[in-house]
């Protein structure tokens, strides 16, 4: 069914393209993670300006392919493209909103937010090297907690997903053995545990299996009131996984470090920074074939940076810090029409 749904989505996108040309709406396709906030923004934007947005959430891979094929005005991806890829395809990349990934647990008798873990321990749990909750390494971190002497069931996303990419990126940063043996990708070869399909699958499994641990997007964990564990950040602190902690990670990140803002927000310094934070990205061609359209896209996101924060936080996304939005505006100057002039002027 999934490939079929994918084909359907592509088909729909094509149909929508045809009708969009008439309505002069901008079209985008890609990541599923930001879909709710993009559609909320689009709704409000249409009310204010009269022009709309068609966004097809067909997955990051699909978004990248569609922007390469120039069938959409912008593509969207959860995992940022690397500098050489951006240069090769002549793309400009910028982040829109952020979210965090939270480890969720189901340990009988342990209250939410009481269990503390480090990235290194989390990696060893997922590698099968730590098999029981009563492991001395976990016990040492959690003085006073009564941890059961039972097998841990690690739960992961069985479908290829940006969430897995973010999570395994973090594990690779926290543990050299993890990096060497499993690495970071949208799907990896998990040595232990079991897979659940989508955030729902992971949640259902963690809820059903005593002594399980999983990982889901923070918005999802919050809406479903899942029991979570705290993670030690680079500064050695254990912040609560909330908007403040995600924004702290964004604030302390060096956004200029990679072209297209393709930096990883995981494991950022700062006392309040949540260690598994990530942004989602937009892709647009540098040489705009249709300058008016490209300008429309940038105008939409400019509006979103200025007016979309509340809508984003309502949906448990985290808006970008203001200084980052300013940097992004600088980058937009690279999007040029045939006359060599930037298509979008502030």
């Amino acid at each position: 069914m999934r490939p079929f749904a994918y084909a359907l989505a592509v088909g729909l996108a094509t149909v929508q393209l045809a009708s969009a040309a008439l309505a002069a709406d901008i079209t985008g396709a890609g990541a599923t993670f930001p879909f709710p906030v993009y559609s909320k923004w689009a709704e409000a934007y249409r009310k204010e300006t009269g022009s709309g947005l068609n966004y097809q959430s067909i997955g990051s891979g699909g978004g990248i392919k569609q922007i390469q094929a120039k069938t959409v005005d912008f593509g969207a991806t959860d995992a940022p493209l690397k500098a050489e890829q951006l240069a090769k395809d002549g793309l400009v990349q910028f982040p829109t909103v952020m979210g965090g990934v939270v480890p969720v647990v189901n340990i009988p008798g342990i209250e939410p937010g009481k269990l503390k873990l480090t990235g290194d321990i989390l990696a060893d749990i997922y590698a099968g090297k730590i098999a029981k909750w009563s492991d001395p390494r976990i016990a040492k971190l959690n003085d006073g907690l009564k941890l059961p002497d039972s097998n841990i069931t690690p739960v992961y996303r069985s479908d290829a997903s940006g969430t897995t990419n973010i999570f395994t990126t973090y594990l690779s940063q926290a543990s050299d053995t993890w990096k060497k043996e499993y690495g970071a990708a949208t799907t990896i070869s998990w040595p232990v545990g079991q897979g659940g399909k989508g955030n729902e699958g992971v949640t259902a499994t963690v809820k059903q299996v005593p002594n399980a641990i999983g990982y889901v997007e923070s918005a999802y964990a919050k809406q479903n009131k899942l029991s979570y564990a705290l993670l030690q950040n680079k500064a050695g602190k254990y912040p609560q996984p909330d908007d403040k902690a995600f924004q702290a990670a964004a604030a302390s990140a060096d956004w200029k470090a990679a072209p297209g803002f393709g930096i990883s927000l995981t494991n950022q310094p700062g006392d309040d920074a949540w260690p598994i934070t990530a942004a989602t990205f937009i892709l647009i061609h540098k040489d705009a074939a249709d300058p008016a359209k490209a300008a429309d896209v940038l105008r939409f996101f400019d509006w979103a940076y200025k007016n979309g924060d509340k809508l984003a936080t309502d949906l448990d996304y985290v808006p970008l810090p203001d200084n980052v939005a300013e940097l992004i505006h600088q980058e937009w100057k690279d999007v040029k029409g045939k006359d060599g002039k930037p298509v979008f002027n502030m």
């Binding site: 069914m1 999934r2 490939p3 994918y6 067909i58 997955g59 990051s60 891979g61 699909g62 097998n151 069931t153 069985s158 479908d159 290829a160 997903s161 499993y182 690495g183 970071a184 990708a185 949208t186 799907t187 990896i188 070869s189 998990w190 040595p191 545990g193 079991q194 897979g195 659940g196 399909k197 699958g201 259902a204 499994t205 059903q208 299996v209 399980a212």
Partner: protein, 325 residues
Amino acid sequence: MPALTESIALGRTRSATARKAPSRSLDTLFRTFSYAAALLVLLVLAGILGSILYGGWPAFREFGFGFLTSAAWNVGTEQYGALVAVLGTVASAFLALLIGVPVSLGIAVYLTQLCPGWARKPVAMTIELLAAVPSIIYGMWGLFVFAPLFARFVQIPVSNLAEGMPIVGTLFYARVPSGVGVLTAGIILAIMIVPFIASIARDMLDQIPTVLRESAYGIGCTTWEVVRHVLVPQAAVSIIGAIMLGLGRALGETMAVTFVVGNANRLSASIFDPSSTIASRIANEFNEADGLQLNALMALGCILFVITFVVLIIARLLTRRVQSA
């Protein structure tokens, strides 16, 4: 009187010749149409096989025969092997048949031989309704309702009992007692294929001439003997066909299995442990796949195609043996 019969006979021949004339062109048209319809299936099949072979070729070329025997599936290092998925597919389909076939045949025999008249229609309709339930519903029901119950009342007790025993312990020990795994997938698949096998088998049993059954009862056979020695041999060929249809569905079932098989790329001897099937792997990864991973998924699809084909050939050989016996 002779005049009358003659006129009747004449009338017969006249009407016979009158009917013959226009039917010839219609006949040709009908023949061409049915020929084209049959040919179209072959063309479509060849097209599908051709495109997945083309798509999967880079993976076959990269890994060669090792693609079949390797258990690795690692996107990061671009290592792909089909072994786990192939074994998972075969194991879950086999378990589905093991559970589903006796149940379906029981249903068919009950409906045709033992069921009181007033209950036949409702029972038969309920069974056929099972075939109309979309597979994703089976998957969600399996994950949210069946799996927790199965874990609590079957996996955990059995696993506790079997722990440490030789052979039995390897087969029935669940390291992750979450209720999903190869056996759960097999059970869900069994429920999904029961309506197919049961309704076809029922139709076949219904078509056996009553005379045969009555004469068997006449010489003093019990119901069991009638079923065993008269009905089953008569309908055997069609029943094997029905089972093969069910097996075909079990091999290729995607969504329901993806929900309940556990999606782990590991070799495990325990039927309680999570694994994956070819269809579930494709469903999970196709969306975001790129490059060699996409080729490997296509190659997996190709292997599933071949497995289904082999199963069909075996079915053919089996029916021929039964027919000649």
